[in-house]
Amino acid sequence: MAAPDPAVPLEEQIDEWRSFVRRRQAIHSVDVAELEDHLREQVAVLGDAGLATDEAFLVAVKRMGELDALSREFAQEHSDRLWKQLVASPSGSGELHAGSRRDAVVAFSFAAAAAVAVKVPVLFGLQLDEDGEFYARNLSLFVLPLLTGYFAWRRRLDARTLGWLAAAFVAAAVFANVYPFESQGSTEALTALHLPIALWLVVGIAYAGGRWRRVEGRMDFIRFSGELFIYYVLIALGGGVLTAFMVVLFESIGIDAESFIQSWLLPCGAAGAVLVASWLVEAKQSVIENMAPVLTRLFTPLFTAVLVTFLGALLWTGRGVDFERDLLIQFNLLLVVVLGLLLYSLSARDPRAAPDAFDVMQVVLVVGALLADAVALWAIGTRISEFGFSPNRTAAIGANVILLVNLAWSAALYLRFLRGRGSITSLERWQTQYLHVYALWAAIVVIVFPPAFGYS
């Protein structure tokens, strides 16, 4: 830390020192208090011996020892602290503890509400197994309003914002349910798929809580989304183990638990888990390293290698891409994955750091994905007249173009950054503003497609 300025009073120096020590995760605040008592006594004793306060402070800090070594000693003694205990972390002041406790209670109440919401339509005679289409269209409406409500509570949103968010959900409910969809039609499936994407933006606005207009606010929401996905998958895996045991245990005493699992545990659990996972991400964000950037680091090189090899093989063998029905959707997924890799390495990147080899790899990855997608688009484009514009194909091409534009411009911005002509923040700004485009496109698919394609 900086040498103390003699004009700065002792209390401020100690404050600075305390905040410095607190940053070490192995040293808990109760230990900091103990060390601070030591420091103060040392300063007082040295002061009595005739040292000026600032000198006494310097000597006392020096005697305390190198902070790195000290925190290493603490870490060795309290190695458990490096494994952050989340759900029942006893650290921190009592006030903080009460706060996180209340937060947990509220989060679980919202989760319970989501679980109940899934079963409410049953009261009106809509069964999950018989009216699957109704549930598919309205899936996001059971969960996302409650998630939005949870963040509205957390961020203390004002009434005006709340009104807009509520209006968005009402509009979504109307569009999901008033159209006379043909049974088994693809426009209905498209609505079920795109409505959550459009509404995810509404969740984001509540999540950002007034910071949505700022790049950082939207970037935080991107980080949140990635972590939420990972936590959700983990919870789902745990839920799978639980249900497997349930089936086996009850089977052994001759009770069939499967219908209970299918009509209660699975739907209610899946809905509630979204809120529980969101709460976990929120509670854990300052405590643990985010997982999405870690996975990104692992998989970016692998995806880059696969794409480069694919393009190389394509050139080498001169084979055309076989056009299959689902090819475009698969390439959309590929672009989404590449976009995710780009986004989450961006989200963890220090914007001030100079470009390094990993950045070059990112660009290779993005350009590789663009080329691969161009090949696929070309293969489809040559035969589109033959297949015609069905709702599914139009939606897939639209999504592909949107992703393509995003990645192309990202590649351009990234290249500019690599050549030292731009900053990484312009890429961040581009990505976070582009969030609106996805939501807008999803809204178009939900609102315009069904009437445009005759609800088929």
Binding site: D37, H38, E41, Q42, M64, A69, L70, E73, Q76, E77
Partner: protein, 115 residues
Amino acid sequence: MEINKDLIAASSTPIVLAILAEEDNYGYAILQRVREVSGGRMEWTDGMLYPVLHRLERLGHVEARWEVASTGRRRKYYGLTAQGRAHLAAERRQWQAVDATLRGIWRATPLPQGA
């Protein structure tokens, strides 16, 4: 004279326990006592005492409690437990055995001059 790190680490447990056997005490005063008794020869980095105290607390040799000192600040006091007392007695016997061994050897070989 500098005492090597391993020796400092090995002796910290009996020294801290022995000081706490005199009376319950807090970190700063324990270090003062170490300096006083060793005549300044045992130089501990101040902060390093606390992980040692926490380890002894975890092992059940000492118990900690927060008190308000005369200065009005909250201060963490440590005191020996019955188990700590027993451990200190065992350590004491071990160190005495080491000490007696070294003395026995060094009685025959006087310290070379200037070393």
